[in-house]
């Protein structure tokens, strides 16, 4: 008998079997769970919810928002005692990855937060359930929502998530400092029609002083942070990230260069990477900065100074105000185990009572126009600093228009490419024009591989 050596043949056979199995597993259809889940709602009336004890997993990225949802979810559980809600937070930068991993692993959450590039990721890959049947069946007040916000939550003509807020970025500024130096505030400039990029940096220059850790910065700067800032500014100047037909990136357009030039020329009044602590709003060293509107409430206990707001400044050429388009929402991923109950929770979050509770706790403007522009709502919120101005800005946002995140499936990579080139320009490692051209080329290349949802980028009431 031949037991001398494990024959090469047997060995290779074994290896082939296992590797073949692995490749087959890869080609196998998705695990059963993903396929069995229903993807459309019933067509006749609201379906009764399950009576079994379940826990809905609610995924999001911003810790402080849980403060608003917890009481709302508690009331939901009061109404449906067998349904508990568990909120799980993943930091923004990791969010898409976590969602993708959950999809790949076959264990998706029930109610999934969506926004901007995280939305385009999920929607572009067809991972979200169409909510239109649910909206129709439960007579959801969808007309109370701004069309641009809804567009941000749709793909391929299907409504894939419901906005839970319609916040925007505002220009925050420290009120006292302006008074001290006898300067007119951004709000005043806005009211008299003179609030432009040049005004903003003129103020920044006057407000910058000191050196080292004691340095006071006139403004928060511009460049590689947030595309929620950059895109509206581009639109204000008559440019944009893409043309409206998504044929090419517009970063190398001369009008785009004007915007970046503005940020670049005024870096000296803004914190740099070396001002890690003093460059934050909380440090009190930054006199004007762009931030999300709910922070009007969140910052109140944190900041030892008074602040107020104005819209982000307009381009000096066009004097047009453009807000950022961002309507984060909640959707239901395909393969979620309790889609009907998930929808019930999403609908619950958008009721008048829930909206006001959330606004009260976290300062998030309600997504529904009728509620968000209600004067009483803003007056009742005593925690929101300078709520009268807040209301004005919310109304302005709906009227002046906003620029949405481009609906390309790989927008994450595009913005990454942008940041890599621009940060080199900001560090003076390459000329600004080159940076914009390089970014433009890379984004054009990415555009070719992207799945795109052709839709308006710039939304105005008209």
């Amino acid at each position: 008998m031949n037991t001398k050596k494990l024959s090469r043949r047997n060995f290779l056979r074994g290896a082939a079997v296992v590797s073949g199995a692995a490749v087959l597993a890869a080609c196998a259809p998705k695990p059963a769970a993903t396929q069995a889940a229903p993807t459309t709602a019933p067509t006749m009336g609201p379906k009764p919810l399950t009576t079994e004890p379940i826990t809905l997993r609610m995924w999001h990225w911003d810790n402080y928002m849980a403060d608003g949802w917890k009481p709302v979810n508690a009331k939901f559980t009061e109404k449906y005692p067998n349904i508990k809600v568990s909120i799980e937070m993943t930091e923004y930068g990791e969010y898409s990855q976590k969602v993708a991993a959950a999809i790949a692993g076959g264990a998706v959450p029930d109610v999934t937060g969506t926004v901007a590039e995280h939305f385009t990721n999920m929607a572009g890959q067809g991972q979200l359930t169409d909510l239109t049947p649910y909206v129709d069946a439960t007579k959801f007040p969808i007309d109370d929502y701004n069309k641009g916000n809804l567009s941000q939550n749709s793909w391929g003509g299907l409504l894939l998530s419901i906005p839970y807020t319609a916040d925007g970025e505002w220009w925050f500024y420290q009120v006292d400092e302006f008074k001290k130096k006898g300067l007119k505030t951004p709000y005043q400039y806005w009211k008299e029609g003179n609030w432009t990029w040049d005004t903003a940096t003129m103020l920044a220059e006057q407000l910058t002083s000191g050196t080292g850790v004691d340095k006071v910065f006139g403004w928060g700067g511009l460049g590689t942070g947030n595309y929620f800032e950059m895109l509206p500014y581009l639109a204000s100047n008559g440019s944009g990230f893409f043309d409206e037909k998504y044929t090419k990136c517009l970063l190398s357009d001369p009008k785009s260069l004007e915007l970046y030039q503005w940020g670049y020329d005024n870096r000296k009044f803004a914190p740099g990477p070396e001002d890690q602590q003093s460059g934050t709003p909380q440090s009190g060293h930054v006199m004007q900065w762009l931030d999300w509107s709910p922070y009007g409430l969140v910052y109140a206990p944190q900041m030892p100074f008074t602040y107020s707001y104005a819209p982000p400044p307009a381009s000096p050429t066009t004097k047009k105000f453009v807000f950022c388009g961002d309507a984060p929402g909640f959707g239901i991923l395909k393969g979620a185990k309790h889609p009907d109950e998930s929808w019930a929770l999403i609908a619950w979050l958008n009721t008048l009572d829930a909206c006001e509770t959330i606004f009260d706790y976290t300062g998030q403007e309600p997504p529904r126009i009728s509620i968000a522009t209600d004067t009483g709502l803003w007056q009742r919120n005593t925690k929101f600093v300078d709520s009268a101005v807040g209301l004005e800005l919310t109304k302005a946002r709906f009227n002046d228009g906003f620029y949405n995140t481009p609906k390309t499936s790989n927008f994450v990579e595009m913005w990454q490419a942008h940041n890599e080139e621009i940060s080199l320009a900001w560090a003076d490692k390459q000329p600004l024009k080159d940076a914009l051209n390089k970014a433009n080329d890379r984004i054009d290349a990415l555009l070719k591989e992207a799945t795109i949802d052709q839709d308006r980028l710039y939304w105005t009431p008209s």
Binding site: T3, K4, K5, L6, F11, A22, V23, A25, A26, A28, P31, A33, R57, N63, S86, E88, M89, T90, E91, Y92, G93, E94, K98, A101, A102, A104, G105, G106, A107, V213, G225, N226, Q276, Q277, G279, T280, P281, Q282, S283, D291
Partner: protein
């Protein structure tokens, strides 16, 4: 150097003194080189401790406060309650313990098989084992992920534990095997004569004799699993299944959002110390085992 006669002639004594002085100077020189380095090496720990006890307002000030006064022990409570760290500790402990048991068992079994038993293909398989020591994990990562996904094991602890039950890691198998081959075969023979089968020999004779190596492997496996971030971040999604490393990462990122680089350092440092503590405690209790373990791997490897 010849032995010096202590009661030697005066000139002899002077010679002794000069030798002692040179020795002393030499040792002082060495110490002068060692001590600043040691200070550099220990400073991060001390700074971490110092920050963890500071009042939040005293963290970002210049000049820095070296010894926090008052010492805010409450930071540790705040750190541990910011997220349910007790749950994550239990998760991490569960994973680590299960891995330890499986790893020690299967790695030593495999090592014994290669060290003491003869079977067809043994040498060939052993060569495969050794060459797989240098196999980078990335080459197997994706199909392994696909396999675990197909089994429905993603977002469970199983992908982190099961590999340790399938022979552990080639490195430890190799290590244990080297140790086992240094045990005299006569012991085996004596046991066989008394009627012991292979399993008895393995369990009652070999294992007790390689305790130092097992100790070293225990420490390695503990550290690897306690500090593992890579596999945890790939396979674990639900927040209730987080390990301590994932929790600290979340804490770190949540207090350092890109456009809000305001970090609550005192809490992060407190949490980091708590997570580091078991490693440090085990080290202090098993110092010799630690050093032995490193020496074994380096010298035999």
């Amino acid at each position: 150097m010849e032995l010096v006669n202590r009661t030697g002639l005066p000139s002899q004594r002077r010679l002794n003194f000069r030798k002692w002085f040179r020795n002393f100077r030499f040792k002082t020189l060495i110490s002068i080189l060692i001590i600043p380095g040691a200070i550099l090496f220990i400073a991060p720990f001390l700074w971490m401790l110092s920050t963890s006890l500071k009042d939040p307002k005293m963290v970002y000030i210049f000049p820095p406060q070296i010894i926090p006064n008052p010492a805010v022990w409450n930071n540790y409570i705040r750190a541990m309650t910011r997220l349910p760290f007790q749950d994550y500790a239990l998760n991490t402990i569960q994973i680590t313990v299960l891995c330890l048991i499986g790893h020690l068992l299967t790695a030593s079994m495999t090592a014994y098989g290669f060290a003491r038993l003869r079977f067809p293909g043994r040498d060939f398989l052993f060569i495969l084992l050794i060459s797989s020591i240098m196999l980078p994990t990335q080459v197997t990562l994706i199909p392994t992920f696909i396999i675990f996904r197909y089994l429905g094991w993603v977002d469970t602890f199983k992908p982190l534990i099961v590999p340790d039950w399938l022979g552990g890691v080639p490195f430890t198998v190799f290590l244990l095997r080297q140790f086992m081959t240094s045990i005299p075969i006569e012991l085996d023979e004596a046991a066989k004569i008394e009627g012991a089968n292979f399993f008895d020999i393995y369990w009652r004779i070999i294992l007790p004799l390689i305790k130092p190596a097992l100790g070293a492997v225990t420490i390695f496996v503990f550290l690897w699993n306690w500090n593992d971030f890579y596999y945890a971040v790939i396979y674990i999604n639900s927040q209730n299944k987080w390990t301590l490393q994932l929790a600290l990462n979340a804490l770190h990122r949540s207090s350092a959002a890109p456009d809000r680089s305001f970090m609550e350092m005192e809490i992060l440092m407190a949490a980091s110390i708590v997570i580091m503590l078991p490693c440090l405690i085990i080290f202090f209790f098993a110092q010799r085992l630690f050093i032995q373990g490193i020496v074994i791997t380096g010298v035999k490897g």
